[in-house]
Subunit: 323 residues, 6 copies
């Protein structure tokens, strides 16, 4: 019976992207990537050295296996995936653009196998006290369907009951729900969490305008005794510990190759260091470092080398050519 450091649950999709700078209408081929916020974070945690399981509900088809294979390849345990007959895989199309053109994401994820996951699908024997230290989930799983939301809530309850810590990333998506809907669902989830990750922009759309510091304080007031981390984009990140300490971390500049998944990489870096070192300030550094490295990597998955992240955490500059 394998023991994990982290267990994560959520949807992972096939991302289809035109190569280079082509518009969708111009392309004759799609590059295929695998992406989903929780699986992205799971892969990051595995690459950093933790034992990680991620599961989801996937169609029993080459498409579903495509997702599972790619996640498993980087060391994540996918043996708890629930395989569904005759269902579809969530897909998203991504058209990358240089300014002043907007990059665009077209979701085609409605009625995916994961959106139909039921609480009964949860692997009960996995949620035992000795099988993991932390459960990770995000607001996207709450957003995709009523069934997935119920399942996510039940999973969080099971994890709490097993004595695991719970981390929750709000991960607001305007194409999935409104700020008001998100706020309602996330409020409940955050009340169950030991670690809340909430981008500043998510706060604003869910709770309204506020300066970054006010936003953080407001979350701390809403969810007292919880470790709260708020990413601020180019401004870095800030946190308030369960004990009430305020910490700030500047961002680490990075050449932008793969913006998608940067937040999930931050979560991986933060959770890794928080679990291993228990220090939120150090964890913020790891979040910034893993996120910066992710920006240089194509695709959704944070295929970072732990040595490279550690060097950045230690203050290294990087960017050279070693030969």
């Amino acid at each position: 019976m394998t023991r994990y450091d982290v267990v994560a649950l959520g949807e992972s999709m096939m991302r289809l992207t035109p190569p280079g700078d082509l518009r969708i209408e111009q392309t004759r081929t799609f590059d295929i990537w695998v992406g989903g916020t929780e699986s992205n974070t799971a892969v990051g945690l595995s690459r950093l050295g933790l034992d990680v399981a991620w599961f989801s509900r996937l169609p029993a088809s080459p498409l579903g296996r495509y997702i599972s294979n790619r996640v498993a390849q980087y060391g994540v345990d996918t043996s708890h995936v629930v395989w569904a007959q005759d269902e579809r895989l969530g897909i998203y199309f991504h058209e990358k653009a240089q300014p002043p053109r907007d990059s665009e994401i077209i979701y085609d994820r409605r009625d995916s196998a994961m959106s139909r996951m039921q609480s009964a699908d949860l692997p009960r024997d996995l949620f035992r006290s000795d099988r993991s230290r932390l459960f990770h989930i995000t607001g996207i799983t709450l957003a995709i369907s009523d069934a997935a939301r119920d399942t996510a809530r039940e999973a969080m309850r099971l994890a709490k009951a097993a004595g695991w810590r719970v981390s929750f990333d709000t991960n607001y998506r305007s194409k999935l729900w409104t700020g008001a809907e998100a706020a309602e669902a996330c409020d409940h989830a955050m009340s169950l969490a030991d670690l809340i990750l909430c981008p500043y922009g998510d706060y604003q759309v869910m709770y309204g305008d506020a300066a970054p510091e006010e936003a953080l304080e407001d979350l701390a007031a809403r969810f007292p005794g919880t470790l709260i981390v708020m990413t601020l984009g180019k401004e870095g990140a800030q946190a308030i510990t369960s004990g009430g300490n305020r910490i700030r971390q500047p961002a680490i500049l990075a050449g932008e190759v793969g913006r998608i998944g940067g937040g999930d990489a931050f979560a991986a870096g933060f959770i890794y260091a928080w679990l291993q070192e228990g220090d939120a300030a150090v964890a913020l550094k790891w979040g910034a470092a893993v996120s910066a490295l992710k920006y240089t990597i194509p695709g959704d998955l944070p295929l970072v080398d732990p040595e490279a992240a550690a060097a950045l955490v230690a203050g290294g500059a990087g960017g050279g050519l070693i030969r």
Copy 2:
């Protein structure tokens, strides 16, 4: 007001195929093709020189435009396409295999924009006596949803009312419905048609085992006075005219590059010659020639040159290198 020779209605999808002989699980890219039985035939008819319009219901998005652009590129009028907000495009995945492995198609077309087309979406002013000579539709449009079936039936009625001829290809798909379901819906459609195209295999699954000649006779008995064409794969094709003449046409052997769309190419060749020359025997030759040429062309669309088809119809062998 443009006048067409042929108007066709049906779903056209994005086909995603791994390059070369890769399995889906192995590929990192998909080649993108555009395919749909009626649009395939429409493109073939346009390449042969007719004025053709094809329409469908497509999402108002880069994905929907992808379909429309590719069809329009080859000269087909797409101005009657009905654009739908916030709907999805039908997709299908195709994994090509050498024997003894089966090639596989994975449909992801449920709830596509076309499957939600209503009779009310039909462009009424198009269905006027002076705007076309023939309306073409297939059993797939009957199969994909109740709404599409109702729409297809209404369109056939409108075409008949306008005095156009109607051609109907059964085009059975085992992943969409059963033989019994197909038989019920196609019976009605065939009763409205002036030209029935029915592959021998379709007959068998819909009406049960019979020798090819018996099958043709049975259809002639069911739909008397109708021109009935039955393709027989490597055995060629046979037909029975509205006047009761029996005709046979051997197949033309072809290097197999693009099997998909071969039947639609046959339909294009047949309809073209039937409209232009009014002779079913000549039309069978054109069907065989256009279908053979299609087998040598990647993708779903029969991008045949009329001169090449005419040369085969005239008995040429082809396959040389002209320099």
Copy 3:
């Protein structure tokens, strides 16, 4: 009989470009693009919603059809193209370079089918008062051959006679003629035009050094009562209306993916808004917006979304990731 908003005439070529940053000597493949100044503008106008026809003289071959298909794909009517037997298609090779290396264009367009177009090839029944609102042509068509120049002049005369407006873009190319030759030929064309588009650099090579403002005033003096637009590169654009108003428009910065065709995109944006709104200041904004969007799009064609252009015209910043 279709009615157009804009009719354009000119050469469109096959552009062959090494992928990525490869030099021609390094490449094993060429990416194929379709480009020609008038067809570029025609596609832009069609994408913005106008009814547009473009025609040219093209070889009746797969190469000629390649051009026509790609232009038709984006909604431009190509039914007036003149097909020529046994002639060649204009080709150009493009080697993109980072500074301090020059990007290079190698024309191989001599004796192209279009360069041999005669006045007699012009579709006379197209040039009727009720079939279009504007005729667009550029200096390149004057430059490529005597025959093309005569044809262009006759087309402008026919368009004027039909009561259409005429727009003319000087589009100087140093590899096709000298400044003095261009000045002589363009003088005549500009005297027929209702709208003159003249890049500042073109002015300098044709008429000699002058400050931008002086250059604009000089053109206004030469062609009184004509709307004159002068693009200034990174400095934006300026115009003087037929009524003598001076207007300036700053450039909109853009990530440079596809520099080629930026001027043609500006023309598309300007002509679109000028035809639809009749306000030169608004039209300058559209020119700047469509040109900036074009810079982010590979290839020669301005495949811009009207909504994206409208958002920039309205002052939006763009460049985000919408999900």
Copy 4:
């Protein structure tokens, strides 16, 4: 503590192949495949549903991880891989050719990390009676170096001592050693094996000319009481059971896409059925089926679907298009 059905040990290399039919001197890119006889068989066994571990000695670098990731992706446990600092990965170049040109393999595997594996590197706690049912290894591991041969022998001894069955495939490679050298080393290995797989060609080069039946009888005489399987290329395969029964199995014809790894796929099919069903005749059928399916799949790994293999075993013909 995971329990496996099969544990395999051996070298897996990076295969570099020009795309399509290009010669090495012509190519500008290499396609990358992962291949090694034991890992090929391991992946096949995992795809068929068994719990499989494969291990090797790999460089602790992106190149070593490349191998491990690809094998893990298809469900094989790679947690026992021994990671080596500052060592190199075995590489091989493959130039595919149509007749009458020979396909060519250029090995660059000398001094690979695996060739330096020591007996001391073997994970002792893995070789326990309750952790696996069978150990699989081939003659290649004996051939690549003295160290690897010693390690292989020790591993076979450990497996026997743990009560596992041992399967051994001779897998002669003329570029690694002579027939005499192979015979000497394989004799010892075969004497330890419960299942011997020996291609007819290997027999000939090791023991001299003999008709296939004689060759099989000779092996049975040399290694009495052992299950011996001899593949015969297009002639299929023959076996003699430990109890002395002779069995023959014809080959299943297949379109040749990926010849490399066909023998390893046969081994996977045979071992799978032998372990699961215990019947050598059935196992020969599975060997033939999995091998035939492998021939249709690019790369070295037998990414077969168990349903497809079962259908062939049951006598299906395959090769259709299911839609």
Copy 5:
């Protein structure tokens, strides 16, 4: 001063081909090949071990250098190429097709730099007795322009005057001239040649129908005392020596990857062995072997290995996988 075995003169072009089986209208990229009958043969001779120079007239541009680089890469001396300012490179487009569709070649070679080569451009100091053993040229150089024909004739005269042997391949191209035109020009060239290579099909189009044997006898009568080789496609080849001996050689079957250049490869094999061994029967074997190997190699150039050719000449079957 380098001494050559063979000097060849002729046009070499850039060949643009869609990848895979795509039609030109479908492709977004062209594969680039370098091809020209004399340079093809020159590369073959160089690969077989002779010292070879090839020259032509090429544009002084990246396109011209593209040709020269590719030919030089395989060891052919290109230092005698005549570089021309502001001229164009001959191009040809190749669309490969499976039967019953014809493969097609579209020449775009009119007014190429080579077609404007003058006798005065010939490097006089090259044509000296001690600098080569043989001069090779083909009918294509006679066909492309009057200037090239005059230059070719002068070069043949210079070669004869220097005491070199002259080989001439008729190489008829229906897109360049008629049979009658070819016959007139080739008659003169063949009267100067020591070795005539004439495909049977060329004979028929130039001199009329005759059985193969009659055709060969007729040529022998027209050009007495000359070594005459006639290739017969799948029927192999036949020759008549200067001394009147008749020889036949069957073809060696080959998987068809690159049909273009097969005849030039035959010429390379024949000339190589004739020069080195002086035996026409052996030379026919080498012609057949090098031609068969060329069929397995993409592109126009016969990148054969001398060992592989020698093995086929010695009667080997080839087609295995050596590992």
Copy 6:
């Protein structure tokens, strides 16, 4: 007997690089480049118009020919290459990264054919006074093996004895040896050189910290009467002539496409101008210009146009689009 301007000796390897920004673990293909410091410089010198020979010891295989072909293609004489049976080619893997991630090079060059080159392999008849003007070699050849170091030293002695000038570039590689080792071996080599090229970073690692000016003075003191050039990265370069003149040259900024080989390109530019013009200040300008142009070119080879370099030397800015 050809006479060269420059003869160079050293290892050239196959470089394997993932396309675009992919990490090695992500890629399915490698782009293939050919690189080696001396062959890079040799190609640059050839492109600038000099007669250049480069030689090495290469495996007699398609891999060895790959290297030789690519170098020969750009006009470098490779006829002195020593071909070795059954040896391996040096390979290196290159993973390009955006900051803050380090780009990485993984050498796999141990035991390459070149590393086993012996003094006895040197082509003695090449090292004659009338066959070259300069011999070029770098510290890498000293570093790769004892045999190569001995061979390099012998070659330098032979070149000196023949009266050629000798240029030596330190080219320190931290993955091949330590600074102390390099200093010892390079001291000897520099004492034989007429021209020393030493990057400032190399100086520091070999001799310890010093300001750039001090470093240059120190080298001048160590190797009096020698022309010493020290590149300073973005700070340009400085030199001290054999007569003691100090010169500085700013760098020319360049878009970074191909950083690798920039130093070798500098050496090519410097040596070219030094040989042709004999002026170190002019040579520094050429070094800066060729190096800047190289930065814009993918791969290791400085495929610069002499006209472009001359324009930069003359003070041009470059970076435009000429059409």
